[in-house]
């Protein structure tokens, strides 16, 4: 019987490696859209990693931070895309 905490720690390790490989795409992406895609994927994966950390440390305050971080990541990506598309943030 594998412990449940071991599964959580293994998942966090794998997610950290995938975040590292997505940072490769975010830094060296040929176009602007590739960098935005990399940053978006890194943000959603680190939100999931925060929820896993809340389950490991048994702290419910990490869930509030994860909710706030998810909202921040998606709103930031939308603002980036809209600014680069229209060159203004009005309307």
């Amino acid at each position: 019987m594998i412990e449940f905490l071991f599964i959580l720690k293994l998942s966090i390790t794998i997610l950290s490696f995938t975040i590292f490989f997505c940072l490769y795409r975010a830094v060296l992406g040929p176009t602007t859209a590739d960098r935005i895609i990399g940053i978006n994927v890194v943000g959603s994966k680190s939100t999931i990693a925060l929820v896993f950390l809340a389950a490991i440390f048994q702290k419910t305050s990490f869930l509030d931070i994860a909710l706030l971080y998810a909202m921040l990541v998606y709103v930031t990506t939308l603002a980036f895309v809209k600014y680069l598309e229209h060159r203004e943030l009005g309307n």
């Binding site: 995938t18 859209a33 959603s44």
Partner: protein
Amino acid sequence: MIYLETILRFLAGIFILGGVFFFVCATVGVIRMPDSYNRAHTSGKGDSPGLLLSLLGVWLYWLTINPLESIKILVILVFMLLANPIVVHAILRFCYKTRIPWTKDTTFHLLKDTGSSSDKEV
């Protein structure tokens, strides 16, 4: 009652491992795909089931510890499932409107040279 806890944790472990599998597939697509459109498509398709499965798994685990606080995980799940396809759609619209080039293998007339006779009539 202790059997219910064991069953819930077993299901949570299976869900979390499935979600991490989808995340790894999304990462392989983001790295290996030749085009911005393909990369955005792969990240959107891989992230949605990944976060769905992993957050459902963590929610099943929190049900056995603190059922009241586990509602927050459902809030995160609903928000991310709504927001992730919208963001990927906005990125793809940005790609198309700023004319980022696609690969040479991209074709828009898949049935062009299959020998159909409807092209001559029009």
